[in-house]
């Protein structure tokens, strides 16, 4: 799904955020991207979302070499990726429904279909019934879940999240992680940048540890993901719905 091949990223100010980074994330995998602030987690995610481009090396996302994606094709490229932000980036002057519907409106989906899929996405994050609320009427945890609903509403094959639990207390973090897990279970490839130690301990999935722009530990998906499935607490998921 994602393959970095000797990728370098140097910013115009000379700072080298990623150096000689090679990494592969298979389709259907879920992985944590960890490391200290400034280790290059955000840069790595930005390369995947084509917010930045590699200085050197090759990056393939969902079968496409990003070097071949022209400026005009970037929007279409981004539509196949769901992105969750630390500050959730909701539009404060629009309803929850309109926020979640935005990717579908952009993609030109019909009104009826939008209604169905927005409600389905809100249902998956446990916020069905809050469609007409404004983002600021919701708690931080709820806002983050709206952000996740927006990221998955167009059913992307790849979901990336930048510190999705950064502003949340531990309980809410677990809730949010469970939501990611469930998407992974239905086949979505998930990459989560996080330095939340508690969370990492609780969800022993594959870990990719970055340090100063290099991969220190790439982990291995298969073995880590297996026991993690059993850790999933069904009662917690039910609790989310209410």
């Amino acid at each position: 799904m994602i393959r970095f091949d000797h990728v370098f990223k140097r910013y115009p100010n000379g700072r080298e955020a990623l150096s000689d980074l090679s990494l592969e994330l298979a389709a259907g995998e879920i992985a944590f991207l960890t490391g200290h602030s400034g280790a290059g987690k955000s840069s790595l995610l930005k390369l995947i979302a084509l917010i930045e481009r590699p200085t050197r090396g090759q990056l393939i996302v969902n079968g496409q070499n990003v070097a071949g994606v022209s400026r005009a094709k970037v929007p279409a490229f981004r539509r196949q990726i769901g992105i969750v932000f630390q500050d959730h980036k909701l539009l404060p002057d629009r309803t929850i429904f309109d926020n979640v519907a935005l990717p579908l409106i952009i993609a030109g989906v019909g009104t009826k279909e939008i209604g169905k899929r927005v409600r389905a996405a809100l249902d998956q994050v446990g916020l069905l019934g809050r469609e007409q609320s404004q983002p600021l009427e919701l708690s931080t945890g709820e806002q983050q879940r709206v952000g996740i609903a927006r990221a998955v509403v167009s059913k992307p094959a790849l979901l990336i999240a930048d510190e999705p639990t950064g502003n949340l207390d531990p309980d809410l973090s677990v809730e949010v992680m469970n939501i990611f897990r469930r998407f992974n279970e239905v086949g979505v490839t998930v990459l989560i940048a996080s330095h939340d130690v508690l969370l990492l301990e609780r969800f022993p999935v594959r870990r990719i540890l970055l340090e100063a722009g290099r991969i220190v530990e790439a982990g291995s998906g298969a073995t880590a993901a297996e026991p993690a499935l059993k850790l999933l607490d069904p009662s917690k998921l039910v609790g989310l719905e209410g």
């Binding site: 932000f85 952009i106 019909g110």
Partner: protein, 304 residues
């Protein structure tokens, strides 16, 4: 296709809704656009009405044709008959020497002096009224020239000088209007463009998010284009109202002036076609202004 139309309609209505959230700012911008559009519209009214008015007066400028002194009434009648056949002549009245003398005696007050004359010193005359559509200076000169060429005609009196002057003035004003309209059109585009630029800056975060979730430049631009169109429509409506006010205020005084000149002229407001042109101009200028501003500024906003 239906989804596409629905989307555009929603964006169109959404843009109107957003504008109505800032009523005062929107009204002031629209007012400025309206005034800018009203100026050329009023100048157009001036020209259109001046043309109608001169059209009326042209009909009043009849030509006087005087025959050579020894010309029989029969010959004068024949000439009158021939002139009536012309397609550029509406009416020909024959004033015989006797009629002219009677009228002169009645109106001049020189009755006694005229009685002292042995014969009638006045020639037969024709009053030729050209048709309205031929009442331009060049046509009048042509007609007068033809009549002058007739062997029995002594003199044709025609005062085209003022018609020429007036038409020259109107032509100059018309060009002035085109220039003014062009400048003001640029002004309208600048106003709309600047308003849209500020709007884009205020909604920077929203634009970034939209681009992050895969919105293309065209998608992000669309609501701004519709805002520009609404500004244009609003401006055109205000411009129309302003011209209506101008016409309403001037109607009575102008009628009075026209009455003093013996004309039934009435000032007219914008007809349907110029009204539609005004509306179309508003829409096109609003769209163009916002298109230029949005294309320039949206490209600079990229998520980081």
């Amino acid at each position: 296709m239906t989804a596409w139309i629905t989307r555009h309609l929603q964006t169109l209505i959404g843009a109107l809704g957003r504008l109505s959230q800032h009523k005062l700012a929107t009204f002031l911008t629209t007012l400025v656009i309206g005034i800018a559009l009203a100026l050329p519209a009023c100048l157009h009214l001036l020209i259109a009405n001046a043309q109608t008015a001169t059209g009326n007066w042209n009909r009043a400028v009849d030509m006087s044709v005087y025959f050579k002194m020894p010309t029989s009434v029969d010959e004068a009648t024949r000439v009158a008959e021939r002139l009536r056949q012309r397609r550029d002549v509406e009416q020909v009245d024959l004033v015989t020497a006797d009629d002219a003398l009677k009228e002169f005696r009645r109106e001049s007050g020189f009755g006694a002096a005229i009685d002292a004359l042995t014969g009638n010193p006045l020639p037969h005359a024709l009053v030729v009224r050209p048709k309205g559509e031929y009442a331009t200076a060049t046509h009048l000169e042509e007609l007068a020239g033809d009549i002058r060429g007739l062997p029995s005609v002594e003199l044709v009196q025609l005062d085209t000088a003022w018609v020429n002057r007036l038409q020259a003035i109107l032509e100059a004003v018309r060009r002035g209007i085109v220039l003014t309209a062009a400048f003001l059109a640029l002004g309208v585009m600048a106003i709309v463009g600047n308003t849209i630029r500020l709007d884009i800056q205020n909604r920077r975060a929203e634009i970034e998010v939209t681009k992050l979730v895969g919105g293309s430049n065209a998608f992000v631009r669309r609501p701004f284009l519709y805002s520009g169109v609404w500004y244009g429509i609003g401006g055109a409506l205000i411009a129309w109202l302003l011209t209506a006010v101008v016409v309403g205020v001037l109607r009575d005084p102008v009628s009075r002036i026209a009455g003093l000149y013996g004309s039934g002229f009435q000032i007219q407001g914008l007809a349907l076609k110029p009204t539609l042109i005004l509306l179309a101009a508003g829409i096109v200028l609003g769209w163009l202004g916002s298109y230029i501003a949005a294309s320039r500024h949206l490209r600079q906003i990229e998520p980081t």
